[in-house]
Symmetry: C2
């Protein structure tokens, strides 16, 4: 029996752990992920407190076994959402390896879709790990044409 | 001889026209693009006035022949920008068809890169038209794993 609950401020460490494990599952080491996990924790805390970051946790077999986070981000009006200056962003989707294949990701995504409809969001985005991309394809997500570039920087936190 | 200048509040209509033509160049009709162009204009005006939207215009053969826009968007710290909670976003890149192949996009992108370095931005994104994707590849941009989904909505502008 799986139960689902909305994330709450007390889930700060759990969400950070899920995000950390998600990035490790995409081929990164602990050492590669830890700096962003630490910065993400400081970034997340006020947003989890005020509800700007929301989402759901799946509880199964005595553990918080999976999670999904969501935000509404500002975005210029675009042909895919012509009258809305915002997008829904789904992030930190993670399912503990031992409970994969039991529909938890699907159930969490259904909650995200229901919440998106409730908020009248027209356009949603996410970034998929290579492993998860086929699953999202089955859920109806399609790849975009986003491209990225990394630049060398002065390493100091900008908050 | 091509000259370049930063965008200014008086470029509101020009930028909207470039964005409109850019979306038409990706296979959309005027009728498909116009609602988002109108909403984008209202969205852009205050951001062009206060500098949240910035960029450059190329002037050549007596016309404002090309343009590129840029913003700094909030984003959770991520392994690609572990200590920064922001990304640079490049948008509205458009070159008039009759002056293509003369290096204007490259020159505009070099200005965006220089500005990104000046602002110490570690990670930049853009969304490419199918036509422009190979060009961005040559400039060093790489596709991301972004995926998207469109949902049915109540059509009313949300500002």
């Amino acid at each position: 029996m799986t139960t689902y609950r909305p994330v709450a401020p007390g889930d700060l460490d759990l969400i950070c752990r899920h995000r950390h494990e998600m990035f490790k599952a995409s081929g990164r080491t602990d050492a590669m992920v830890q700096p962003s996990t630490d910065a993400f924790r400081a970034w997340l805390k006020p947003r989890l407190d005020d509800g700007a970051y929301f989402g759901w946790i799946a509880y199964l077999d005595g553990i918080d076994a999976a999670g999904l986070g969501m935000m509404v981000i500002d975005w210029p009006p675009h042909p895919s959402h012509p009258l809305q200056s915002r997008r829904g962003y789904v992030l930190n989707v993670f399912v503990e390896p031992r409970v994969r294949g039991r529909g938890l990701a699907r159930a969490l995504m259904d909650m995200a879709m229901a919440e998106a409809k409730r908020r009248n969001l027209e356009y949603l985005i996410l970034h998929a790990t290579a492993m998860a991309m086929p699953m999202y394809g089955k859920f109806g997500w399609r790849r975009t044409s986003e491209m990225a570039m990394t630049l060398p920087v002065q390493q100091s936190q900008d908050g």
